[in-house]
C-alpha cells in the first residue's frame, strides 16, 4: 500500500474484514515515517519492532476469530510526554533523556486494549511548554506544508505526523492550545476534550488544572472514535469525570439546523491576519448556509486570557517540575558531587532548556511572598470571570467559534527571541483551558502561500457530542481535509 492516505475508520474496517493486514498497515506507516522524518523531525523515537509485534498479534487474534477492537490495527503516534511502559519517554527534555516509564498512561492502556498500534513517540516543546515546537531539546519539528515554518506547539510532532500521513491518528496534550494550535498549523483536526474527560495518569504534568490529552486526526469522525476509546473515569486520576460518555462518532449526523453558533466579534479583532479573518468568516457563512444560526456573543474577559493563563500555568509548572531534581529519575549533573543542594540546582540548570527555566522562574515569582495576591490569586479570580463569560455565552449559543490562531504558521526562528510575542500566538486557545471547556480545530482554508488555517469551535462542558457534530458538519461540506502536503 502507498502511504496511509486514509482514515483510521477505513483502516480498521479493512483490517477487520481481512482486506488488509495489520502488519501491512504497520509496515506502510513505518516506511512513511522513515521517508519523511529526516525532513520533519516529528518523531523522537520510532518503535518499529514493538509496533510490528503488536500488529502481528492483531492479525493473529483476528485469524483466531476474536472480535476486533475499535482501533484494531490502526497506527497511532504518541506525544513524547505520555508514558508508555518501557519505551523511552523524554518530554523532549535533556533532563529526561533516558527515562523509561515503569507503567503505561491510562490512555495508552486503553488505546492498546482497543487494538491501536503505537508507532512512535513524537517530538514536542520541552514539557509541552511552547507554541512553535522550537523548545525541544531534540530540535524543532518542521511543518510538512513548508519546512521553514513552525508546525505549531507544543504537540507539533503529532500534528506533523498526521498531516504527513505517518499515522492516521495521534495523541497530544493541550494545556493552552497545544493540540488545537498545531492542528491548525498542519491542516489537521485537533481535539481538546473537556477537563476531566480523559485521564491524565501517565501524562508528564505541566499545569495540572489545565492539562488534557486529546487526539489529532484527519477527520472529525476519527477524532471522535479515539476520544470514545480514551475517555472515562479513572481511579488513578481523581480529576476524571464520571459524566456519561456518548458514542461520539454516532453523534455525527451532519445536521446543524438546530445549532446556534456564538460569534465573539469584539474579541476577534486586532492582531488577526486578514487571510485568517477571511477564512474564519467564510467558515461561519458555510455553517450558516447549512442551517446554523449565528448569534453575537460577548466574552469581555477573553482579552485577559493570555496573561491569566501565563500566570496560572507557570505557577503550576514551577511546582510540578520540582520533582526533576536528579534523584529519582533522569539526568543528574556530574559537576556537584559534594552537596545535595548544589546537585539539585546544577542538575536543573543543565537539564532544563531556556523556556522551561523561564516558566519555572515566572511561576516561582508569582507564588512568592508579596506577589501571590497581586498576580496568582488575581489570575484565579479573573479565571472565574472568564468562566462566567462562557456560562452566559452558552445560554445563547451551543458552540463558540473563533480562529484557532491569529496568523498562519510563522517562520521557524521568527519569535524565539521574544517570549511575550510567542505567548500571544495562544490568544484564541487559552480560554478553553482556563474554563475547562472542550475545543476542536478543523482545517478551514489556506493562505496565499499555501499555509493551513484552522477554525476553532468551543463547546459546553462535557458536550463534545455537539461540538464534534458541528465540526463534522463543516467538514462534510468542505474539502480542506482532503489536501495533502507535497513531501
Amino acid at each position: 500500500m502507498n502511504g496511509l492516505d486514509t482514515t483510521a475508520t477505513t483502516l480498521r474496517n479493512d483490517i477487520a474484514a481481512g482486506r488488509l493486514s495489520a502488519v501491512e498497515v504497520c509496515r506502510a506507516a513505518l516506511d512513511r515515517i522513515g521517508t519523511v522524518n529526516g525532513s520533519l523531525n516529528a518523531f523522537n523515537l520510532i518503535a518499529g519492532e514493538r509496533a510490528m509485534a503488536r500488529a502481528q498479534d492483531i492479525d493473529r487474534r483476528r485469524a483466531a476469530g476474536e472480535p476486533s477492537g475499535p482501533l484494531a490495527g490502526v497506527p497511532i503516534a504518541i506525544k513524547d510526554n505520555i508514558d508508555v511502559r518501557g519505551m523511552l519517554t523524554t518530554a523532549s527534555s535533556r533532563i529526561l533523556r533516558d527515562f523509561f516509564p515503569p507503567y503505561d498512561a491510562t490512555v495508552v492502556r486503553r488505546l492498546e486494549a482497543a487494538g491501536a498500534v503505537i508507532v512512535g513517540k513524537t517530538n514536542c516543546d520541552e514539557f509541552a511548554m511552547g507554541s512553535s515546537n522550537e523548545n525541544s531539546a531534540f530540535g524543532p519539528v518542521h511543518n510538512p506544508w513548508a519546512l521553514d515554518r513552525i508546525p505549531g506547539g507544543s504537540s507539533g510532532g503529532s500534528a506533523a505526523a498526521v498531516a504527513a500521513r505517518c499515522a492516521p491518528v495521534a495523541l497530544g496534550s493541550d494545556t493552552g492550545g497545544s493540540i488545537r494550535q498545531p492542528a491548525a498549523c498542519c491542516g489537521v483536526v485537533g481535539l481538546k476534550p473537556s477537563y476531566g474527560r480523559v485521564s491524565r495518569y501517565g501524562l508528564l504534568a505541566f499545569a495540572s488544572s489545565l492539562d488534557q490529552i486529546g487526539p489529532f486526526a484527519r477527520t472529525v469522525a476519527d477524532a471522535a472514535t479515539v476520544l470514545s476509546v480514551i475517555a472515562g473515569a479513572d481511579p488513578c486520576d481523581a480529576t476524571t469525570s464520571t459524566e456519561p460518555i456518548a458514542d461520539f462518532a454516532a453523534s455525527l449526523t451532519g445536521r446543524v439546523n438546530d445549532i446556534r453558533i456564538g460569534v465573539p466579534r469584539a474579541f476577534v479583532t486586532e492582531g488577526v491576519d486578514d487571510e485568517v479573518r477571511r477564512a474564519y468568516e467564510a467558515a461561519l457563512e458555510r455553517l450558516r448556509g447549512e442551517g446554523a444560526t449565528l448569534v453575537d456573543i460577548d466574552l469581555p474577559h477573553a482579552k485577559y486570557a493570555v496573561p491569566v493563563y501565563y500566570l496560572i500555568c507557570t505557577a503550576e509548572a514551577s511546582s510540578n517540575l520540582a520533582r526533576y531534581d536528579g534523584v529519582k529519575y533522569g539526568y543528574r549533573s556530574s559537576a556537584a558531587k559534594d552537596s545535595l543542594k548544589e546537585m539539585y540546582s546544577r542538575t536543573r540548570d543543565e537539564g532544563f532548556g531556556p523556556e522551561v527555566k523561564r516558566r519555572i522562574m515566572l511561576g516561582t515569582y508569582v507564588l512568592s511572598a508579596g506577589y501571590y495576591d497581586a498576580f496568582y490569586l488575581k489570575a484565579l479570580q479573573v479565571r472565574t470571570l472568564l468562566k462566567r463569560d462562557y456560562d452566559q455565552a452558552f445560554e445563547r449559543a451551543d458552540v463558540v467559534a473563533m480562529p484557532t490562531m491569529p496568523t498562519p504558521p510563522f517562520k521557524l526562528g521568527e519569535k524565539t527571541d521574544d517570549p511575550l510575542q510567542m505567548y500571544l500566538a495562544d490568544v484564541f486557545t487559552v480560554s478553553a483551558n482556563l474554563a475547562g471547556l472542550p475545543g476542536v480545530s478543523v482545517p478551514c482554508g489556506f493562505s496565499n502561500e499555501g499555509l493551513p488555517i484552522g477554525f476553532q469551535l468551543t463547546g459546553r462542558m462535557f458536550d463534545e457530542a455537539t461540538l464534534l457534530r458541528v465540526a463534522d458538519a463543516y467538514e462534510r461540506v468542505t474539502d480542506w481535509h482532503h489536501r495533502s502536503p507535497a513531501l
Binding site: 515503569p102 520540582a322 545535595l340 540546582s345 536543573r348 515569582y365 489570575a379
Partner: protein, 100 residues
C-alpha cells in the same frame, strides 16, 4: 505600580526554584521576566472584589475512596530510573546532606 526586576530579584527567585543560573541567563531573564510581568500587570486593573478564585474547574467532585491497598510499583521498578541507586538496599543515593 509597575514591576521592576533586578538581577538580585532574579537570583532570589532562582534560589527558591533550585536553579543555578549562569550570569548570562540572569541578564536575559531579568529583561524577559520584567517584560512578561509588565504585560501581566493588566489583570490588576480588573475589579475582582467578591469574586471567588477558580483554582480548578472540577473542584466540587467527590474523590474519596476506600483506604485499601492496591498494586503499586516494586522497589526495583521505582529505583530503576535513578541516576544513582543502591539496588541491594533499595535506596536512592544522593550527595552529602549535612556537613562536608
Amino acid at each position: 505600580m509597575p514591576t521592576t526586576l533586578t538581577i538580585a530579584d532574579v537570583e532570589r527567585i532562582a534560589a527558591l526554584a533550585q536553579l543555578e543560573l549562569t550570569d548570562e541567563e540572569k541578564q536575559i531573564f531579568t529583561r524577559q521576566l520584567a517584560d512578561i510581568l509588565a504585560y501581566a500587570e493588566q489583570v490588576q486593573a480588573i475589579d475582582t472584589s467578591g469574586v471567588p478564585a477558580t483554582a480548578h474547574v472540577n473542584a466540587a467532585q467527590r474523590t474519596e475512596r476506600e483506604d485499601e491497598p492496591r498494586p503499586c510499583l516494586s522497589v526495583e521498578e521505582a529505583i530503576a530510573n535513578a541516576p544513582d541507586a543502591a539496588p541491594d538496599a533499595g535506596l536512592f543515593r544522593v550527595p552529602r546532606v549535612i556537613g562536608g
